[in-house]
């Protein structure tokens, strides 16, 4: 992606001393930046940095509880904060447009795509009749929606996530704005779709002379897309420069941390041969589709359609796939949280499928789980002690209360927390800390295999590495095996000895991590590897 020459041009957008407060709390503490025409300006930060609030302030779409207490934003020659609401409505959608993170919920569910596109066109431009229809079709075509005439009559729920985001882009660009604000436009999308959307944005920027404010937390995306970048943390801009200089020589320690949070994809973890602890053979998880008054089963949704893999003692198998691939369903089935239609799961040689609820109970001690969302995986009403203890009590680990207490304290220390944290509640901790508690909870019952369901996806990028390192260390210490489910290929070399790639309920390729990543055989694996945004080495 080429850099744009931004010298000698008047800035499109100027933000000066912007301050946003919620009551007495300052969430954005006086920031300054400029965006020039035809450039992609990346605003990078993690959760709580204030980057989204900044973008909403430009559009004056802040929620009621927040106020812009200071500063000014100039768009070309207009001071945006001096405009009335009606005047601002002529700017929104017409001169500055915005697309959001969640395409699933950002479209009106009861209006057709055509109607929603028409709305913005009729609002700002004077087109009617055939010209209008032609414009609608060309818009959809430009963003890569196949069969545009027919799709105009479709409703949002009939489109996929990626297609919804394309429609959002079409709506945003319909009236040819000068500036597009894209607030984490690809975070909620699959990696392969993300690649397509980013390429689309780049193409549109060049075709239409568009300035883009790209908000993201992914350094790889910044490296590939942006011309200039600003790093935000806790409401302040720490560093602001052009991309080349930024990646060559990041000034601020936080920037360095962010860049380094991208995992090392060159070094692969090694391990010796070991016995198999878990063997999955031709596992099928089919959900019945019921219809009719008598609720007869008319067919099945084949979430997992015959997968086979194995996990060795003390080693990690990563299952990689995008949403809908069936990877989480597989993991949950091993834990008996999903019903199994057919196939076999053998743990240490013993068959698990077909066991009754009671017979499976002792195995629960050996097979444990860590969930993706650290906020919903722990009961907010229970103390940390009760949370960790729950499993120990119900599985009969350490019946003696004092020894149990001692064990919990040791565990907390091992995962990097303090023993006094036992008496606190989950909401008092950050996401990364909670995930550590979740790891402690899983370890408390001395499992032999832990199923990690995307444990780092919901964490901030700078924290992810720490949690992964922790898991790695624990594996070396205790010899626990890990079944690591993820969509992020880049973290695998560091962590997993073997990898299986899943798509649409089947495994398309598996083998040692080094083999699969350095010489992928299946076209899907190749597409996945190619889609991950990487830092460009110039």
């Amino acid at each position: 992606m080429t850099m744009t020459d931004t010298t000698n041009q008047a800035p499109l957008l100027t933000v000066r001393n912007l301050r946003v407060t919620a009551g007495s709390n300052a969430l954005v503490k006086g920031i300054n930046f400029e965006i020039f025409p035809k450039e992609i300006f990346a605003l990078v930060g993690e959760s709580g940095s204030g980057k989204s609030l900044t973008s909403l302030s430009i559009m004056r779409l802040l929620p009621e509880a927040l106020t812009i207490s200071h500063g000014e934003i100039n768009f070309k020659d207009t001071k945006l904060f001096t405009l009335t609401e009606t005047q601002m409505n002529t700017v929104r959608g017409r001169k500055i447009a915005m697309i959001f993170q969640e395409p699933q919920t950002s479209l009106n569910p009861v209006q057709t795509i055509g109607a929603q596109l028409k709305e913005v066109l009729e609002l700002h431009q004077n087109i009617q009749g055939n010209a209008l229809q032609a414009k609608l079709v060309s818009l959809l075509d430009e963003v890569g929606i196949p069969d545009p005439e027919a799709r105009l009559k479709w409703y949002p729920h009939q489109l996929s996530g990626g297609q919804k985001q394309r429609v959002m882009i079409a709506m945003a660009l319909a009236c040819e704005p000068d500036l597009l604000i894209a607030d984490e436009p690809t975070t909620a999308l699959d990696v392969t779709i993300q690649r397509q959307i980013l390429e689309l944005l780049d193409k549109l920027r060049r075709d239409r002379n568009l300035g883009v404010l790209l908000i993201t937390h992914d350094m790889g995306v910044v490296s590939e897309m942006a011309d200039r970048v600003a790093v935000m943390q806790y409401g302040e801009i720490l560093e602001q420069t052009d991309c080349k200089s930024f990646f060559a020589n990041p000034q601020h320690e936080y920037s360095q941390r962010l860049i380094n949070s991208l995992p090392d994809t060159k070094h692969f973890i090694q391990g010796e041969d070991a016995e198999t602890i878990l063997t999955v053979d031709d596992l099928k998880i089919w959900f019945p589709k019921k219809s009719g008054i008598l609720q007869k089963t008319v067919g099945h949704t084949k979430a997992v359609d015959g997968v086979s893999f194995s996990v060795e003692k003390g080693k990690t198998l990563a299952i990689v796939g995008e949403s809908g691939s069936g990877k989480t369903t597989t993991g949950k089935a091993i834990l008996r949280l999903n019903p199994i239609h057919d196939g076999s799961i053998k743990f240490n040689g013993k068959e698990l499928v077909g066991l009754s609820h009671k017979q499976f109970h002792p195995y629960r001690r050996d097979i444990q789980v860590i969930f993706q969302d650290p906020f919903s995986s722990m009961n907010p009403r229970m103390t940390v002690r009760e949370i960790i203890e729950e499993g120990m009590v119900s599985l009969g680990v350490e019946p003696d209360a004092d020894k149990r207490e001692g064990k919990m304290r040791a565990l907390l220390e091992r995962v990097g927390m303090l023993p006094e944290h036992l008496d606190r509640f989950p909401h008092e901790f950050s996401g990364g800390q909670r995930q550590r508690i979740a790891i402690a909870r899983a370890l408390a019952v001395d499992p032999k295999l832990i199923i990690c369901d995307e444990p780092t996806s919901a964490l901030d990028v700078s924290i992810r590495g720490q949690v992964l390192d922790l898991l790695n260390d624990l594996q070396k210490e205790t010899g626990v095996s890990l079944l690591f489910i993820t969509h992020d290929l880049s973290i695998i070399p560091h962590l997993a000895h073997n990898v299986a790639v899943m798509k649409n309920g089947v495994i398309v390729e598996q083998g040692t991590t080094q083999d699969v990543m350095e010489s992928p055989q299946h076209p899907y694996t190749q597409a996945l590897l190619q889609a991950v945004p990487k830092i460009q080495t110039v």
Binding site: L335, L337, Q372, S376, R381, E390, G391, S394
Partner: protein, 460 residues
Amino acid sequence: MILPVVLWSDILIFALAIAVGLFVWQVRKNPLAKARWRTVFENKVGVTSFVIILFYVLISLVDSLHFREPLPQLEGENASDKVAYSSEVKSVLDLVLVNLEEGAETTYSAPFALYSFAKENMTAEDGTVYRDFPRLENGGSHLADEADHLWDIFGKSIQAILVGLIIGFIPVALHMWLRKRAGNTEDYIPWNVAYGTFIALVVISTWILMVSEYYHILGTDKVGQDVLYQSIKAIRTGVLIGTLATLVTLPIAIVLGISAGYFKGWVDDTVQFIYTTLSSIPGILLIAASVLLIDVYIETNPEAFNLTILRSDFKFIALCAILGLISWTTLCRLLRAETLKVSQLDYVQAAHAFGVSHSGVIRKHILPNVTHIILISVVLDFSAFVLAEAVLSYIGVGVDPNMHSWGNMINAARSELSRDPSVWWSVTSAFILMFTLVLAANLFSDEVRNAFDPRTAKGN
């Protein structure tokens, strides 16, 4: 020596009070629940409505201590002979309201009136008979000069208000002093508002009690009974219906709703079938049918109900039970929906993965998450039942006509209004007292909902 009488409803109401006490004690142990309740009481509206509700409940409790007075000794009997007791059952509240209770008239009279509402045949000193409004026996009987009527009311009122203020200030001052001594820094409750409400209630009560010695503040009804007295006695009925009926709905709705949402499968289908069938039958008809059955039972067992009050009490409790039995479907539906949602949460799945038993999961994970729905439902149902009682009494399937209730008062008032000039004070009295209670309950439930709904609660 008085003979205490314990009615079934008395037992229930005190048991309820104890249960609420236990609940409060429980809440104090749980910091999250404590924080939520704090938000409720941080709010002025929450505090005011709570004080008012408390006041009503207090009146009901005092009205639930029943006894029978001994009849005076007849001549010729020894003191050691068996004492006969009056068949009239009174309560402690009656002692407090003695002014209101005993000063009965013969028939209607307007509020603060000196004269009866209906003309009667009276004999003049010279023996001629004429029809005129007779002077009331009790209301305003102390007044010598009728011209002083308004001044008299005014004067007595000022007297009463002053006394009330003094009486009200004493506990308030004591409390303030205690607080200061304890040096309570975390003062989140707007105590001033609480004090204000308390003093206002005390002043009103004192005014009622003192002025009623001289006048019928809200007039008298058809048989001459003081209207205000009836309305105050009806408080117990209203409060009891609200709470008892709610008490009956709770266990059924909770057990069925949570089971349906948690176990799904055939349990869910069965529960849905039950509540759909129950909902399809018009409620009023069910109530009417059940009440008739109760009547039949009472008639066939006259020995068990020798006192009038026992009979009406039994009918009353039965009515509360019936109301409860047909009203559980809404809460059940809500609980089922919420349980379905909560079961999907990660930490519930984690509990399954840890092999926690079903009862353990329900107790520790599901119940705490649906408590807010139960709480909101409880308070809302309370006011719904109080309102419903009025309607039911009209149809004739409400409480026994012998029992004081707002519904019965309204029922009687219907024809009164159409008289010319109209008798409006019965309805008004019932309206004011009922409205205050229901409004306070609704406002309080709004505060509870705001504090407990996960979407609006603070700290989420």
